[in-house]
Each structure stands twice: as structure tokens, then as C-alpha cells.
Amino acid sequence: MPHDSVESRDSTAGRDAERLAALYDAHAAPVWRYVVHLTGDRAGADDIVQETLLRAWRTPRILEQDPSTTRSWMFTVARHLVIDEARSARRRREIGVAEVPERVTPDATDALFEAILVEEALAALTTEHRTVVVRAYYRGQSVAEMADELDIPPGTVKSRLHYGLRALRLTLQEKGVTR
């Protein structure tokens, strides 16, 4: 093989490596946290993160989206991988046992699914936004308490809540959960 063609292939591989590393740096930590949140399994999360990122890498259409859409897509893929793995683990345990259909009332399923999508949207927020939204809504902390504990001005707390809830609303709209 001519020398120049080897070189061009090497530089293509170099570009691939750069882009893969950038993809990893941008998304691996949040996806990892979300998977650990779902499974509680830190060691197993690394494999799911790798598979999720590589699926994005194989899907140029997804990489062209803006980062928050890409992130939200990755969370969905990671959740599917977690569910698939749980199912196949259950199947391995239940070999020889007749399949019992799971009967869940449609209402309960919808509510559960909605809860999963809201968790996913919360996980997709930036750390700053998620911190104030969870502290204010679920812990019932006031602006003053958060300002004190996070060591930021009260105006910043209000602003982060404002943009955080708006980002959340946008993600939920994209997922079709709300208008």
C-alpha cells in the first residue's frame, strides 16, 4: 500500500479518536450518574455508558443535534440498555419457568413511565439547575437557605430556578410529556 494512503488513514483514525474523546468528556459523567441512579451498580454502569456513547457515535444524525437533545437521547438509550439487561438477567434466572405475563393496569404504567421521563429530564439538567430544583421542590428549601448552603447570592438562586424549570419544561415538551 502506498505510503500516503497509510498516512491519511492514520490521520483519519486520529480525528476519530479526538472526536470520541470529546464525546466522552461531554456526556460520559452525566450518563454514568443517571445509570447509577437507575441501577445502583457503579461497576456495571461503565459498560452501559460505553455502549450508549458508541451508539451515538454510530448515529451521525444524533451527533448533529444540539447537546441537550443528544444528552436526552443518550439517557433514553441508556435506560433501554438497563431494562434489556435486567430482562435478560431475569430470563437467565427463570430458565424452565413458564412465562407469567405481567399485568399492570394501564394507568399505573402511564404514571410510572411519566415518572421515569421526569427523572430523566431532571438528570439531563446541568448540575447547577438540578441542585436548586431538587432542593427547592423536593426538600422545600427556601431561596435564603439555598443561598446560604450553596454560598451563592439569593438572586443567583432565583435565576437558576427560573432557567432550570424552563429547561425542564422544554425537555418534557420534547419528550411529549407536556405541551
Binding site: 470520541l20 460520559a28 450518574r33 441512579h37 460505553q50 457515535w57 410529556v177
Partner: protein, 233 residues
Amino acid sequence: MSTDHVRFAEWDAAYVVRALDSDDRRLYEAHLDDCRLCRDAIADLTPVLGLLARVAVERAESLLDAPGATGPDPAARARMVARGTREARRRRMMAWGGGIAAAAVLALVVAFAVTTSVVPAPAPEEVVALQPVTDVPLSATVELTDVAWGTRIAMVCDYPPSDDPYARDEQWPYVLVVTSTDGATSELSTWRAGPGSTAHLDAGTALDRTDIASIEVRAVADGRVLLRGEPGE
């Protein structure tokens, strides 16, 4: 609109989650009386609050980054980069050899052979009438049936007879495409159709029915989407 809207523009979220102290709350409520923008902003956020209520407190708390929280294994980055680079190289080599096209044709043939050999078919769980995306004479209906290996897809595609005698013998190739909820597309079957023809296709996908986002009929010639349907609507 109130002139001091700028001062209060970012207070809406803190107000709806009841995080404002009593002085701030009184100020904001007085402002709300004469600020349409802030009232609209609050109305926008109300559905989000209802959705937040769906998540249990301890689930939400576990999304907060614990102090000193660990992240992914530091070695995972290099592993992922190595695997991705390897895969990309392999993909390029396949594309060079035209391997992808050959593999796709083979996959189609195999998929077709496998799916058509599985009989008999139980009643379909769902019937979806594909909707025209552009102005086309074609109409198609797909029946989706849950099976152990994924979802069986049976399609009937009608091309109405034409009055134009010259059009009668013309046929064009079409392809049935399934997109999964995570965005991956796969081509299931191709066929030719012209005026007065009805095609019956049996195809299948490894996706579960609930993982199918859309089913499309596309023109092979230019990849244009002609008909489209979404299960579960």
C-alpha cells in the same frame, strides 16, 4: 406592563415552588397584579410542577451529586475511544468494498426468509393506517403482531388503477422502513408497485412493538418518505 418587570422576571420559578420568603412573596404578588408577562410565566410553569410531583422525594434526592461522588472508571475513556476508532475503521473498509450494500441485501433476504417461514399468525395487536406525507396515490396499512423474536409486520399496499393507458405498465420500487424509539432506522423489505397493483408483504423486526417509533414507505429512487404511521397513537 409594569415598568419594574425586569426586576421580577426571574422570580416566577422561586414563587411557584414556594421558595420565596414572605417579604419577597408579598412584593412579587403585588407585582403580579399588574404584570401580564409574569402571570403568563407562572401559568407556563404549572404543568411542570404537576409532573415533578410524579417523582418520589428519595428518587429525586438520589439525582443530586453526592459530595465526593465518584464518576466513571478513569480507564473507561481510553477503552471507549479504542473501540470506537476500531469500529469506524472497520465501517470505512466495509464501505470501500461495497460490503455494506451486499450485507444489506443479504440481511433483507435472510430477514424475509425467516419471517415468512413463521406461521400461523395470531391476530395483530395493532393496525396502523399509514398517512400520506406527500401527494401520492399509494395507500398502505400495516398490522403489527407481538412475537417472541420481536414484531411481525404485515403490510398491504394499494396502488389505485390509473386512467392513463401509458401509466399502466409503469412500476416503481418502494422500501418499508422502521425507525426505533432511539432513532435507529432499518429497511425491512422492498417491492415494486404500479397502477392497479396490490402488494402483500410479510416482514419483521427484532424491535418490540413499543420500541417502534414510526413505520414509513419510502421511494427507493430518492429516499423520499411517502407514507408514515406511528404505532401506539
